[in-house]
């Protein structure tokens, strides 16, 4: 975690992969009970922990911090889609037959959110996420400076998180 906050991309990526497993475990049961696609919530939590990573205090347990952020986002997600909580029986039935592996890692909310970004941001986020290019490569391909790519990527991610917030509360 400490290395990740110093700007070590490799350490950070490894950390995110590790934390994703933990987040999935925390989210799966709760999301399923509410009939929500767990992976959507997982991605929402990941985005939040990324944007709020400066709030982890050095030397304190990462797990507790992660749990606090995850809980906040899970509650948000459940509340936002609260109307679906009313049909638990059907969803439970459905989920009985869903193949766990098939749906692993694929989600839709973020895809929808991507369409709300401006073109540049979408291009950069896609290039970095799909093809895993470094900021440098993306910069060359899109004829932008490396700094501009970084800034656009960061703004794009923040905008993604904001689209989740923008959905009006049902209650």
């Amino acid at each position: 975690m400490e290395h990740s906050l110093q700007g070590d991309v490799c350490a950070y990526q490894q950390l995110l992969v590790l934390l994703t497993v933990a987040i999935r475990n925390a989210v799966r049961g709760r999301a399923r009970a509410a009939g929500i696609d767990a992976e959507d919530v997982v991605q929402e939590v990941l985005l939040a922990l990324h944007l709020k990573r400066s709030t982890w205090v050095r030397g304190t347990p990462v797990a507790r911090w992660l749990a606090a952020i995850a809980r906040n986002k899970i509650v948000d997600a459940l509340r936002r889609r609260g109307h679906r909580v009313e049909v638990p029986v059907e969803t439970v039935l459905e989920t009985l037959w869903i193949d766990e592996v098939e749906n692993e890692g694929q989600a839709h909310d973020l895809e929808r959110a991507l369409t709300k970004l401006n073109e540049r941001q979408r291009e950069v986020v896609r290039a970095v996420s799909l093809e895993g290019h470094s900021a440098q490569e993306v910069a060359t391909r899109l004829q932008m400076t490396e700094v501009a790519v970084r800034v656009t990527l960061h703004r794009g991610l923040r905008a993604l998180a904001a689209t989740f917030r923008a959905v009006p509360n049902e209650d």
């Binding site: 906050l5 990526q13 994703t20 990941l46 996420s129 990527l153 991610l157």
Partner: protein
């Protein structure tokens, strides 16, 4: 979008070192207090008899109470801004109200009842109610700006705390120019003024500090 794709994008965005939120908050506190002071110097001035006032118990007590509030809520803010930290030293927040209550009791005990209403109403209640929020604004703006990077689990509470802190700063500054030193005046008008700031920023917190 696949989660592994998202992770790639997030990792790529993590190539710069992150400044711990504590630094951001301290900076905002300092900048805000400075800006509020600048506004004070621009609009107002310390009361002319400040040299004499500073040696009176009432004037010092008034400053002590509002300064206490500002410091306590600044410390508390460091906890409510973070998702995983339990507030210690919570009792500090009660210090200013308890001090003030004590001051009021002593004032009532030592002054004749006939002078109470005059002490309570003072000269400048309207000034107090308008200038404290005004002087608090720069500090409040800086704090909100910093808090948007934080992750408060209860945004309205974080907002209210920022309001108390800024109200405290506004109170300290206003106290320097305000000619009314009686704890009766402070307990009434300062409390209302700072309470307005805190209430407003609690709503602001709910609105702008969600994440």
């Amino acid at each position: 979008m696949k989660t592994e794709e998202l992770i790639r994008a997030l990792a790529a965005d993590g190539s710069q070192p992150v400044r711990p939120i504590g630094h951001t908050l301290w900076r905002a506190l300092a900048t805000g207090a400075l800006l509020s002071t600048a506004l004070f110097l621009l609009l107002l001035h310390p009361r002319l008899d400040i040299g004499r006032a500073i040696s009176t118990v009432r004037f010092d007590f008034k400053l002590l109470v509002v300064a206490c509030l500002a410091v306590a809520s600044a410390i508390f803010l460091g906890y409510v801004a973070l998702p995983a930290s339990s507030a210690r030293q919570r009792w500090l927040l009660y210090l200013a109200p308890v001090l003030l209550a004590g001051g009021v009791v002593i004032e009532l005990a030592t002054t004749p009842a006939a002078s109470w209403s005059e002490r309570l109403i003072g000269h400048n209640a309207v000034h107090c109610l308008s200038l404290i929020p005004l002087l608090a604004l720069p500090s409040l703006a800086c704090l909100f700006f910093a808090l948007r990077r934080a992750a408060p689990l209860r945004p309205p509470l974080a907002g209210a705390t920022a309001g108390l802190m800024s109200g405290g700063v506004g109170g300290v500054l206003y106290a320097l120019t305000c000619p009314d030193d009686s704890p009766l005046f402070v307990a009434t008008w300062y409390t209302i003024a700072i309470g307005m700031v805190a209430t407003g920023s609690a709503f602001g917190g709910g609105r702008w500090l969600r994440w």
